[in-house]
Amino acid sequence: MFSWKEFEKTKVILAQDSSYFESAGQHHITIRPINLLRWVEMAGEDLGFFTLVEIAGVDLSGLDNSPYPFRLTYHFLNMGAHQRLNLHVCFNINEIIPSIVGLFSNAEWMEREQWELLGIQFNRHMKSLLLPRGQKVFPYRKDSSSADWPMDIPENNPVLRFNPNKSESPFAEESYIWKNYSLYSSQSKGLFEWKACFDGHRLVDSIVDIGFYHQGLEKTLTTKDWIQSLALVDKINFGASPNYAVAWAKSLEDLLRIKIPERAQAIRIMGIELSRIFEHLTVMHEICFALNLPEHRLFLNLREKIYELMEKYCGHRQGFGMIKIGGVRDDLPPGWIVEYQAVFDVLTKVLKTIHRSLISQPQFRESLSAASVSAQTALQWGLSGPTMRASGLNFDLRKSQPFYFYQDIDFDIPVGIHGTAYERYLIRYEEIFQSLRIITQVIDNLPMGEFINPDWVKDYFTLTEELKKIDVSKDWHYTGIESPNGECGFLIMLNRNSGLSRVKIKTPSFPLVQALPLLLKNVAEDHLLASLASLGIRSTELDR
């Protein structure tokens, strides 16, 4: 457990140069870049903050009169003690920030992202990640202008070497085969480019390239109202839209201390768990589709039944527009619970038969036995969700930071041992039954009352006035929620003019894709796509 009072006594030198405050159960420490590496090393080794969740930078040059207008925030998580640490580095743009890639491998893409958006200098060579290469404009700076936007120069192409001396034996690399799982190929999982290198039949090396959506969602969220951005946040991941919407709405409700009625809490839990079920079903479908098994069709049929349930509630098949600030959109329609029970019966019965028939095929078990992730790599690369739990780490945000009714509900968290793709599949299979168990418990004890806070139904327009009353000194605010593929959340920085100066979206797919060359190393080519599907990567989450 980290406590500042004990820390001040023991580490006097570090404590002198930094200031501390606590808000919403999280530790915030403001430091200078000279002390950054020492702080990060101590946080990782002594204080037990093993995972780096997110890095976010912001330019406050117009708003803040301090000599250090730029800020970088390193968000760490301590899984054992359920604690979160924010290291705020204040600096001038001319200063050079030490890179922490040596301590957290996860930080490589995050630092690249901050460099290309804000022009923050790190002490290592940088390549652009999301923007076109050879850029000269840093779009998140206050003084930026889109004057000359360069063309995209393809740089990630592999360099092929051949032995010029014909009398010698050829290089081993000459026999390698490069395959491009490109943007629109049916085999890859969406809009990211993946160049894979095989020696005969095993994967040796691969190069990942992202940034093809060009939405600029983080920037647009700062310009919209909170209510408008709820509609945009839904579309980050089509499978898990209620998760992102709840995380967005919850961050505002925590700041303004809006109480939402109990019935709305129950309906929100049901939305989250239903989305978890159909996201897991799609992943299971993708695994079977990659292996050419005919069962993949059956998973889609099951998913369709949950889509219909969602459609009967809110009009959209994937649960868009379900959550409003202060509650939910509508009350449960009459007869919805009866239909849920019918779906429950079909799901449990059919899913078990499909599962049994899949397990009985030795081909299925063999092809998923590869791509094992150890617990150390899961921590080092900041993985979360079923991928992390399959490697043996027992951590779930529904248990560690229970919100709404999660602390009163009985449910279990399945945990694996070796972290293979087969265990990831089993965990997904078990989590479907656990979330069904949660929903039935919620329906049994469904509280009566209103579905939305009556003070907030018509008072959306007073929101801006309410936001001005918030204490702005506690600027950064993080809310995380366990989405089906891992931890999703928002790092939000409030503004004195009742707006947002920075929003950082934390998605589970970003660290997964970053670690993809490592996770799928030495996997046979026949088993590659199935083990890729088992990770549950959604390419819409990769965009910023």
Binding site: I227, Q228, L232, E304, F320, I354, R356, S360
Partner: protein, 125 residues
């Protein structure tokens, strides 16, 4: 740990066959090739998917109510993708821009807008 004490004792042929059958059940392996352990119950072969439509706002008011719309400027501004445009005598909702969030329906004066139910629905009597 061995739970069954009679595991190492001599067992009859029938008993051993039963054990094998139980093991096969657990591991999912087939005893004989001709014998099918798990008979998959296929659901109905043809599944009728519900139509994948995007619900969009539909103007249900009469022409004289247009002034009500113009007075409340908010409906135009609430749209997160700027899909609504108001001219002198018409309201234009861009289908390509509309993401079907339903915010305009929520904030419009009552009796003017409603979400559509069928695909390409233009008018509702």
């Amino acid at each position: 740990m061995i739970l069954n004490r009679n595991f190492y004792n001599k067992v009859s042929l029938l008993r051993s066959a039963w054990f094998k059958w139980q093991l096969a059940k657990l591991t999912g392996e087939r005893l004989f090739k001709s014998f099918k352990l798990h008979k998959t119950e296929w659901p109905e072969k043809i599944y009728f998917y519900s139509p994948r439509l995007r619900r969009k706002p539909l103007y249900i008011g009469t022409v004289d109510k247009l002034s009500m719309w113009k007075e409340s400027k908010f409906c135009e501004n609430i749209c997160p993708t700027h899909a609504i445009k108001v001219t002198a005598d018409a309201i234009m909702i861009d289908d390509r821009g509309c993401i079907g969030c339903g915010l305009c329906v929520e904030f419009a004066p009552p009796g003017l807008l409603e979400m559509s139910v069928e695909f390409n629905e233009v008018h509702r009597s």
